[in-house]
Amino acid sequence: MPNLKYLSPEWAAEALRRLRAQLSPEKMKHITSSMMTVYTHCPDGKVRAVYYALKEGAFEQLVIAEGELPDAEFIIKGDYDTFAQISRAELKSRKALMSGKLELKGNLVKALSLAVIVDRLNEVLATIPTDY
């Protein structure tokens, strides 16, 4: 499989396919929620976001957003490079949050209970052949 450009529509489609295939509703704890990762300082200078919607543990949506961003229960914001490091498994998302490289908006108590799920999601995304 050729490498896909990070945050491109093709990358998003492949991400959604892999997440649906590898993360069952059981593994996703049957949660219903929405999460958005906001990438600042993308290589072209723009701000982009990946919006994930889950219903009872099933991935309903994974879309790349630009310009006016949708609202989500959890919003994680950081530099493109930080997310790229996480996707390449060079940086743990927890460490990025604890060091302030990422900012979380949303109920922290609930977020902590979902941290393991986000780890699983990142592990799947890290398997996509990607050009950053």
Partner: protein
Amino acid sequence: MATDPYFIDHPARVRAIQGEMVRQGVDVYLGSRLRTISWVADAFFPWRTYMVIPRDGLPTVFTFVIDAARAADDSWLGTEHVLGYGPMGGQDQITLLANEIHRSLPGGKGVIGIESGMGTYLPEGHITHYEYEALRAAFPEAELRNSIGIIDELSRVKDAGTLNRFREASRLVDVGQAAVLDAIRDGGYRGKSETEIAGIAIHAMRKAGSEWDWTFTGGQEIASGHRTGYAAGACTPASRRVLQAGEPLMVDLHAMYRLGLGDHSHNYLLAPATDRQRWHAQNFVGLMRLLLETYRAGLSPSGLADDMLDYAEECGFAEYMVPGFEHGIGLLGDEWRIGTHTGPFPFWTDPDHVYRPGELIICAVQYACPEEKIGFRYENPMLLTEGGNEVFSKFPLEIEEI
């Protein structure tokens, strides 16, 4: 709800605060004092906690994330309005507070009510210098205005649910006092330490339902011998000192029921007692009887102190009296100062504060004779009424010889 004797109408409290905010031109209120958090959220918050109260709608509480789920479960505000903060990007205290306050301050302009001041009480919880400066930087065009008078005035006269919580906490303290008396009578005190006496009381009170040995003065204050008579009074966390025959014993117990606080001190002479010790004991009990007959709404702390010290002078023991006869009390976190901030010394009780019916105090008297290694303490929650008072602990006022 109405059948629960301990019911407190917390939404009505929030509406009362919001009404005062409008009247005083405060757009959003940032509470940080333990007394404010307890009074509004009705849960135990042992960590640094903040409450953002908008002019409309429910307050939102921010507490240390490790305890947020438990606190949300205990509070009527629930998980949507009791949130956690922690050391993560976007989740630190200042970021969360700034985001929440911003909802009430379009454009960052307006008045933010804060809780500033100083207190004798360590866990008071006034805003810190760092918090103040950080919020000022976050809202450069807003005014940060000290607004502690809002809560202090609203919480001054106690409602029925609050009073019943104090009555129940006092009943629990009486259970502890009875357990201590059972344990020490007929020579049972021999070989026991102050900490052991504290443990006997704690076990009995916890068994009866007490949630916490709530004071920051050491939980249960047990003193024997010279420790009963420190000059100017004392807080006496139990020590490992072993009780001795011929010495006084002070048993000052504290229980908590749904943030209502029990606080009663009882005193003993461990036989054989000397005539001089009995003289001290009679002085103390006599003064206490007079004081309990005298207290009522309409009086002031300074007026009462004058009358009691005159009596002590006439009877020849004024030099052993600590010249104060009460301290303030409210739900957990509201301790020490009485009333609002009208006195000559900022953030201290106004000595000329005139008690209103429905105010609750701890009637607190300390008799101390360090040179003779003897002292006594009386403490009891007291509701002031038009015609007199009601003390909540019913353990008999006397100094028994054991």
